[in-house]
């Protein structure tokens, strides 16, 4: 028994003899867990529980009927589709931004590094108003695109721009520390052993970054799905074209149809949860495969 307890490298999550929890050098598990549960309960679980309770009046068939309603289904498709696209764009470009910010030193790097966090700090409505005035037909960017017949503001493309904007810091900030920990000596070794640049990037640099990139992707995606403030100003909000699911929730509330509003919220929650679970599984798989955390 005693020898099992002392075993240093037992895998986490295993049941330990004499208790459910692996003993730690520091005491205080009880209060810490109690605090965690109380806090999570108050902040996350009780509100979500209330949401589920309110929607449960409709029953599963009622919720399903609302999900299949044309306008709701279209809005869900737009919300999740564009969020997915925006998160994908952010993974690619966020990776590049993180790479530049960690690997090179240049004048203004710190300023640029700080600027990455701006979408975090900005009230979303401010971001939405700024983006829509920038991308409107008479805005700085919009007027440059207009001669090519490209309309951004008040189209689905506008939604994508807003979602890319608010999602970028999530990807950059999750990839940066992993990239900083990555020894450039490994790349040098790869190069000195005769690998060309593409091979070095594809087989040495990228694999350890994949779990972090996936985390960033998941965070950016989750944030995009729930985004409201910045989107409604630039979306155009035309039903079946550029109307996001959170706006449909607001409309149901305007009709004082609380049950339908919460039902849509629950549907969004379920889809998000399923997608985050999937991303987590992929992440765990890639972590096991590459051996990197």
């Amino acid at each position: 028994m005693a020898s099992t307890l002392a075993a240093p490298a037992a895998p986490a999550g295993r049941l330990f003899p004499g208790g459910l929890v692996k003993p730690s050098a520091l005491p205080g598990f009880g209060p810490a867990l109690g605090y965690t549960l109380a806090y999570l309960g108050l902040i996350v679980l009780i509100p979500l529980g209330a949401l589920a309770l309110r929607a449960s009046g409709l029953g599963l068939s009622g919720i399903w009927a609302i999900a299949r309603d044309g306008q709701v289904a279209a809005a869900l498709k737009i919300t999740f589709g564009i969020s997915l696209a925006a998160a994908l764009v952010n993974v690619v470009f966020g990776l590049i931004v993180a790479w530049v910010l960690t690997r090179y030193d240049f004048p203004g790097r710190r300023l640029l590094d700080a600027a990455v966090d701006l979408p975090f700090a900005l009230p979303t409505a401010v971001a939405g108003i700024a983006l829509s005035s920038l991308y409107a037909g008479n805005g700085w960017v919009g007027s440059l695109l207009a001669p090519f017949g490209i309309k951004v503001a008040y189209t689905p493309l506008g939604i994508a721009v807003a979602l890319v904007f608010i999602g970028l810091p999530f990807v950059v900030r999750t990839i940066q520390p992993v990239l900083a920990d990555l020894d450039s000596e490994v790349e040098e070794a790869s190069a000195s052993l005769g690998a060309d640049r593409l091979t070095t990037v594809g087989r040495v640099v990228l694999p350890p970054l994949i779990p972090a990139a996936l985390t960033g992707f998941a965070l950016a995606f989750a944030r995009a799905v729930g985004e409201y403030g910045s989107v409604i100003f630039i979306a155009g909000n035309i039903p079946y074209v550029s109307e996001i699911a959170p706006l449909v929730i607001v409309q149901k509330l305007e009709e004082n149809n609380y049950a339908a509003a919460t039902a849509i919220a629950v549907i969004m929650l379920l889809i998000s949860f399923a997608m985050l679970l999937l991303i987590n599984l992929v992440q765990a798989w890639s972590r096991r495969r590459s051996g990197h955390v």
Binding site: G137, Y154, N237, Q251, E254, E255, N256, A260
Partner: protein
């Protein structure tokens, strides 16, 4: 050691409780002489002008100081805040349906509220007009011009904006008279109109900003008072107002919130505040702020001259049949507005 430690903690606790109590006392104390007017977007300037005059009058009559707080937003959203517990003393909203919703769901207002004050509880009225670019390049004169191909029309979403419901109904009234009540043709007209709408903003002010600042669209359908404010603010050299020959009589109603004023003990002052809106003194300010006054004799003739006489259809006209029916038929879930956007399958 232990004793003094415990004592310190107890003392801290007492201090925290005292501080908390002080904050609560301050908050409650300050609110005792406050009146909260929950209104919709385009009345911001109007009540800013009316409130100090009422406060002065109240002080002269009773010797009491009163502060009137204003809350503005989309009419439907404001109604929901009151339903959900915002302790409004009075509501001054864009349409009767929103106050009906408060009465029905929260029971804080009796069902017969609209008969408690003169003129359907609407101390001022307005109508729906067009704002176009200076010189009216697209030649917009009447509702028919809004369904022409290539004309971009800006109006907020009737599902979220009270003003937008009046816009929609004004167009409906016009089409209904034009097609002699043939509903299929009226629907076609409304559908064509909304096909020309590139952006549905959630509120009247947002739509105005889209039109005036983002240079979006050729014509803005707007409250008459908001149209005047927009032209004043964004430049008479850039925009002008076109008044169509037919429009709707928009009656933004007011009511005290009985449940709240009784709980707060503000019934007397809240009632006085609403009655004040009907006085010649207030009517003059109302006309000056571009709302059509009930009592035209009280208004400055120069202010009155800005309101052209046009044919105004009311919500009680047989083509609508009152707010309750209109709300359900046109703007309810799956109603006519929802059907406009439904793709043909």
């Amino acid at each position: 050691m232990t004793v003094s430690f415990r004592f310190a903690r107890l003392r801290d606790l007492v201090l925290v409780v005292l501080a908390f109590g002080f904050v609560v006392w301050l908050t409650l104390g300050a609110h005792a002489a406050d009146l909260l007017n929950v209104s919709y977007d385009p009345t911001r300037e109007l009540y800013k002008a009316l409130n100090p005059v009422f406060a002065q009058k109240w002080k002269a009559e009773t010797g009491e100081d009163i502060t009137i707080k204003q809350s503005h937003g989309g009419s439907g959203k404001q109604a929901r805040s009151v339903i959900d517990g915002l302790d409004a003393d009075v509501v001054t909203l864009a349409l009767a349906a929103d106050i009906d919703a408060i009465a029905e769901i929260s029971k804080k207002i009796p069902a017969n509220w609209q008969s408690r004050l003169p003129h359907n509880s609407a101390p001022y009225t307005s109508t729906i007009v067009f704002v176009v670019k200076k010189g009216n390049p697209k030649g917009i004169k009447d509702w028919d011009d809004l369904i022409k191909p290539g004309v971009a029309v800006i109006t907020p979403n009737p599902k979220t904006s009270g003003g937008a419901r009046w816009n929609y109904l004004a167009a409906w009234a016009y089409a209904s008279h034009k097609f002699g009540g043939d509903e299929a043709k009226v629907r076609e007209f409304i559908t064509a109109l909304f096909k020309n709408v590139p952006v549905l903003d959630s509120g009247a002010r947002g739509a105005t900003v889209n039109f005036a600042e983002r240079d979006l669209g050729d014509v803005l359908i707007s409250w008459e008072n908001d149209a005047f404010l927009a032209v004043n603010e964004f430049g008479p050299d850039k925009f002008e107002i076109v008044v169509p020959p037919t429009s709707i009589l928009a009656e933004p109603p007011v009511s005290i919130v009985d449940g709240n004023v009784d709980a707060k003990g503000t019934r007397k002052v809240a009632e006085a505040y609403l009655s004040f809106l009907y006085t010649p003194q207030a009517q003059k300010i109302i006309a000056h702020n571009y709302y059509r006054p009930i009592d035209e004799a009280a208004a400055d003739p120069a202010d009155l001259a800005r309101f052209p006489k046009i044919k105004l259809v009311t919500i009680d006209d047989p083509i609508f049949g009152g707010w309750t029916k209109t709300q359900a038929t046109h703007f309810g879930d799956g109603g006519i507005f929802d059907q406009i956007y439904k793709p043909k399958s």
